[in-house]
Amino acid sequence: MDKEQTAAKPKLKLAVYWGAACGGCCVSVLDTHEKLLDIVAAADPVFWPIAMDIKYKDVENMPDKSIDLTLFNGAIRNSENLHMAKVLRNKTKILVAYGACAYMGGIPGLANFSDKEAIFRRVYDESESTNNPEKIHPQREVKVKEGTIEMPQFFNDVYTLNHVVDVDYFIPGCPPQSERLVEVFSAIVTGAQLPPPGSVVGANDKTNCDECKRKKTDNKLVKKFFRPWEIQDDKETCFLEQGVICMGPATRSGCGVRCVVGNSPCRGCYGPPPGVTDPGAKMMSAIGTMIDANKPEEIDEIIETIVDPAGLFYRFSLPGSILGRKVQ
């Protein structure tokens, strides 16, 4: 970033917020290393729960559109996430869904394969480490000496940020590659021409195989699917051709194929390429063409070797996909 240029401009007001998130996205902002100093030089963080102590009230009292850029990470899991999404939408000029959870639902979104009741039963009644003979479940309101405490409402479904408010840009990744954030941030700071609102930024159009250095051919016939640890990876051949499901061909590039570079198949955290609404469905139909069988029973047997297909194909994308959730 060109310091002379940015110094001349008034500093941007920046917010970073987490909804239903693991914290990894916030860490990825810190992971910009020495570039963080450039970011801080160009922008004043006005709200960032992981790094500074500011109350929701303070944010609610800010004038509308007074924040230039909000990086909203995490999915919408409860009424608190929803409330802050709406508040930040009103206060922010450029609202970015930052990371796989805000963009597509991410790992928390896998809860859409279950529902609120089943989750509460498991967590508060049945888990091996739970001792809750009175079966006490979270309450919306708790009366204490000092008054009534309100708890956020746990929704039945996990939503993406875009499901609940209008989003200007999406930066994919679990978490986004820090270099990509720096690029996008620089573009905003320097006032470069931004793509039309609604675009995915900080990623490319082609999918991961394009950048992947592994050898790939059209011979993707599979008699049995393996989990990564079940094969002796030759470190050279496309994972799919070794029978290991790699989401690379259905996943937008931008991360530098970092998992495959580390000899692990891509799990799809960068989400679908442009024009694709449901990467899980795309990948399943691609996998369908790879099954090397002639008889229906043989096909069934081979499919049986795919462990947890729902979690595999929709690992990061369930709430944002056409599927959305398990049908109830």
Partner: protein, 576 residues
Amino acid sequence: MEEPRIGVYICWCGTNIAKMVDVEAVASEVSSMPHVVLAKNYKYMCSDPGQELIIKDIKVHNLNRVIVAACSPRIHELTFRTACEKAGINPYLFEMANIREQDSWVHTDRSEATKKAIDLVIAAIRRVRFHEALEKRSVSVNPATLVIGGGIAGMTASLEIAASGKQVYLVEKADHLGGMVAQLDLTFPHLSSAQQIIHPLIQRVKNNPNIKVFLNTQIQQVHGYIGNFNTTILQNGNESVEIEFGNIIAAVGLKPFDPVVIPEYGYKKIPDVVTSVEFEQMLLSGLIQTSEGKDPRNVAIIHCVGSRNKKFHEYCSRVCCMTALKYVHQIRAALPDANIFEVYADMRAYGKGHEEFYAHTTHKQIIFLMFDQQTGLPRIRKAGAADKCNIIIEMDELLSGISIEVPVDMVVLMTNMEAHDDVKEVVRSIGVSLCGNQFFIEKHPKLDPVATTTGGVYIVGGCQGPKDIPDSVSQARAAAARILATIAQESVPVEVTTAQVNELLCCGCQTCVRVCPYSAVSYDESKKSSVVNEVLCKGCGTCGAACPAGAIKCKHFTDSQILAEIEGIMSLSYKY
């Protein structure tokens, strides 16, 4: 995209639709949908006034999208597309909703059927918004034709095409022309000479300057597409010749089934048990004699050998019943005193003059014995020294219900006709498919029986399914007519709704390459992208469904079109 202006037409189909679907309600329900300019109902949309209605509305109301909710698009899509074209809008901006076969005909509750019709029309309205104008394409046609197989079917087709001055390459695997007919003596039902049918044909083929015959020749992989094929043929197994041609006729016929696999019949173990093809040789030589050189006094003819039985072939060979009756006449003429036994399972006399031939044959003093083809095959054994015959047939006779022994001196096995051993290589080299019985599959069993799903490739004669000479010849002439028509056009239309790879999105995973049933997709190493050969592409959509990167667009079946249609039918809306 221009603002869609949609005209919707709900057809009554007389009472076919109107009695089960409230067509007026459907029209009024959808008339207020966004982009719908008008919604009308009419008695017969496919009639001339129905089409005129569309044409007039397109002009008057400036429509740029048209929907007809009527019968199956298989029946009238083309009719309405043509009407749209006449009115000056691209035919692919039309969409049809099937409210007859998929609705009025299959439901009994009028209000439910009406609701379903509304859903189907809403789906079409949502879809048609995303339709794009597509341009017709055509390719030029090389006027030469490759005919594979020099039997009666292949030769007939060759002569027909050559007669119009066009080049024919006739490739025959054997060292002579004529196929099965050249091995026959007389033919049913008129008992005319097969040799007199086939020899003049062979001469005409040999003498025709437009027909180049390659004997002892097998074809290699054929490359290209309708109008523009080429291949290298290996003559006498070594000399290679390059040929180019625009159309292909496969006429490789069938071969006789080998009955050694039926233990009951003792073929090749018991002397004087012969196949029909061997018996034809005997007839051609003019002498019906046992292996000992004697006149047989008793002759049995066993039907359905290897046919109509799950253990061998489930299908009927169609010509053997009549051939067996033909033998009755020939044996009776040669051996007036012989006893002739027709050992049959069912008598199939389906063709022109065949039933009369059957009736006529029954007056030839013969004995009909019936067996159960599934459970009661006759058992043939060599007679003992004391018996006054060579062979004994044991059988459970079905009509009398008793088990009998038939003493005979000769048995003729009416063998099934089955595919050649190399048929799989033949179909692979010309890009067509085989059915479960290993017969070549036609494009449509009723409406297009000599074409295949591969443009420019036709199938005639026995290889399409067992048949007699008249049927083989009819097919040959039909295919020749089809080919001459495309040659006369000089160009042929090719599929419009093809697949296209967006090179900016293709990641080079090559998932699509192997899935194409028409070998239309290949990977271009230099572009680092797959490419679709749009002339070969049939628009089946397989590659588009398989591409995980969403890089393949199947024209007229794009994701946005299909999703809009599904959304419409489910009246769902998802955000994205």
